[in-house]
């Protein structure tokens, strides 16, 4: 997918989701985290489902992960998209089962596989920095 495609349909920004969608200018992926038990909570909610803590704030993640599953979308659901494109579920290194639905860009769809290492790369749209992922040949962080 490139810059000429149709704009993404993006959600309304709230206090709860603002940092996820708008803080990527510096290239860092931020996700809500519980201060008490340190669990990452995504999608963001006002209470930690593990310890019921109410003190949560956005923290910087590794921005790296592994492809848990993916789909190569061929059907033109909307005009102006560049099919085929890859929709993927990426599990972040920061916590088991912490997953983001996203797109894999920067490689051919046929090159994508489950277990592939990926790293975040943002695309800007208005105030939004939308987290997509590209193949990552770097080593898994210690």
């Amino acid at each position: 997918m490139n810059e000429r495609e149709e704009p993404r349909v993006l959600p309304e920004i709230t206090d709860l989701n603002r940092d996820f969608w708008t803080s990527g200018r510096d290239g860092e992926l931020r996700i809500l985290r519980c201060k008490a038990c340190r669990v990452w909570c995504h999608p963001p909610r006002p209470m930690c489902p593990e310890c019921h803590g109410r003190d949560l704030s956005y923290e910087t993640t590794s921005g790296k992960g592994t492809i848990y599953s993916y789909v190569i979308n061929h059907h033109p659901w909307r005009p102006g998209l560049r099919e085929p494109y890859v929709i993927s579920l990426v599990e972040l290194d920061d916590q088991r089962h912490l997953r983001l639905t996203t797109n894999i860009v920067g490689c051919r769809p046929e090159a994508v596989f489950i277990g592939m290492r990926v790293a975040v790369r943002f695309v800007a749209q208005g105030d939004f920095f939308v987290p997509l992922f590209i193949p990552d040949d770097g080593l898994r962080p210690a």
Partner: protein, 374 residues
């Protein structure tokens, strides 16, 4: 065993409207056709109906006003969530079991030949739409891909579900697609959301199904064989999310199945026929695993070749043709067929001596199922 609320209710009547592609009739008209058929089938008149529960699309207010029904209760209306498409049957059972209602009309109507495109990035969709994921096809295919990775499930195995469904549809005059398909045709159909091709996806139609959920003591007055609710399942333990469930590939179906079997002494081996949501092939395969007809991960080999799940096989599945071939009424045509099978009214599709059936619907976190007996 403790007294279960679902044993206080039964299905006294069913109805289906004309079904098919672009019927040119409103959803309300179709809903009323199905409702009037079901009410008569139950040996009742509109005056007897004192509750309505529906997933729509025809709004319950319009159906109530059209019928001129005097109601004790109307179910909260809208959406799926825990319990999936069949949650409205569960609500009807609850209304009857508590004594609030005696005869609840439950219906589903579809009149929009709409695509899957969802345009609002709100609720859970806010985490999918921004990534150009507009369709349940993609969200379910994501699960199928991981299942293939974890267990070696193949496209050919998913295809057996599509081919078998089409073979059954040939026996159903109301089915939208009745021409047989081969596995090769399945495999060569155009991609939608790989690993799903066109024939992994169900066919949109217009139509409506209605049933009457009555108090169990209505039984002597039922003109047809009453169908009992042996067990219901509408619970959810995992997250209400399409991408955050820890047990990703099994979806909410594992929670539903566990709850179902916890409410009965019957076992999977006692089931004569299964009518299962096949909006996408994988959903049906996954229900078979979760419901315990085979082990986790063995759904592929279980359906391979299609013999086992065909009429005359060990576990006939989607005898009416499924949503894949008969058409998409979101879990209600499958329920209608399960009821017909138990009543011995399924005609050329009848499973001999069917006494126990499962109706199971939904995918992702929105799942629920019913164990029905005659």
């Amino acid at each position: 065993m403790r007294e279960l609320l679902e044993r206080r209710a039964l299905v006294s009547g069913v109805g289906i409207s004309k079904t098919g592609r672009r019927l040119g009739r409103s959803g309300l008209e179709l809903a009323l056709d199905a409702a009037m058929t079901a009410i008569a089938d139950a040996g009742l008149t509109v005056e007897d109906i004192d509750g309505i529960a529906t997933m729509g699309e025809a709004p319950p207010d319009d159906v109530k006003n059209s019928l001129g029904a005097r109601l004790a209760w109307m179910a909260p209306f809208g959406g799926q969530g825990a319990g999936g498409h069949l949650r409205y049957v569960v609500q009807a059972i609850m209304a009857v079991a508590t004594g609030l209602c005696r005869h609840v009309l439950v219906y589903r109507s579809v009149s929009m030949l709409s695509g899957e495109f969802r345009d609002g990035a709100t609720g859970d969709a806010a985490w999918h739409i921004p990534f150009h994921e507009y369709s349940a096809a993609s969200m379910v295919a994501m699960h199928a891909r991981r299942h293939m990775h974890d267990y070696g499930t193949t496209r050919e195995q998913l295809g057996a579900i599509a081919v078998t469904s089409r073979r059954h549809a040939a026996l159903n005059e109301q089915a939208a697609l009745r021409e047989p398909i081969t596995l090769d045709e399945y495999l060569s159909a155009r991609w939608i959301a790989e690993p799903f091709g066109l024939l992994d996806c169900d066919i949109p139609i217009d139509g409506a199904v209605a049933l009457i959920v009555s108090a169990a003591d209505h039984e002597p007055d039922c003109p047809n064989v009453p169908v009992r609710f042996e067990a219901l399942a509408c619970g959810t333990h995992g997250k209400m999310s399409w991408d955050q469930r820890v047990e990703f590939t099994s979806m909410g179906q594992d929670d539903s199945a566990r709850q179902l079997w916890s409410r009965t002494d019957l076992k999977p081996a006692d089931v004569d026929v299964v009518e299962i949501y096949d909006g996408f092939t994988y959903l049906a395969l996954n229900w078979l695993e979760n419901l315990g007809f085979c082990k986790r991960g063995e759904g592929g080999p279980f359906v391979e070749g299609g013999i086992r799940i065909s009429l005359g096989g060990e576990l006939p599945m989607n005898t009416y043709g499924g949503q894949l071939s008969a058409g998409r009424l979101h879990g209600y045509w499958l329920l209608y067929e399960a009821i017909l099978q138990l009543q011995g009214r399924a005609g050329a599709r009848q499973v001999d001596g069917a006494e126990v059936a499962i109706a199971a619907a939904g995918g992702g976190p929105n799942t629920g199922c019913l164990l029905l007996t005659r």
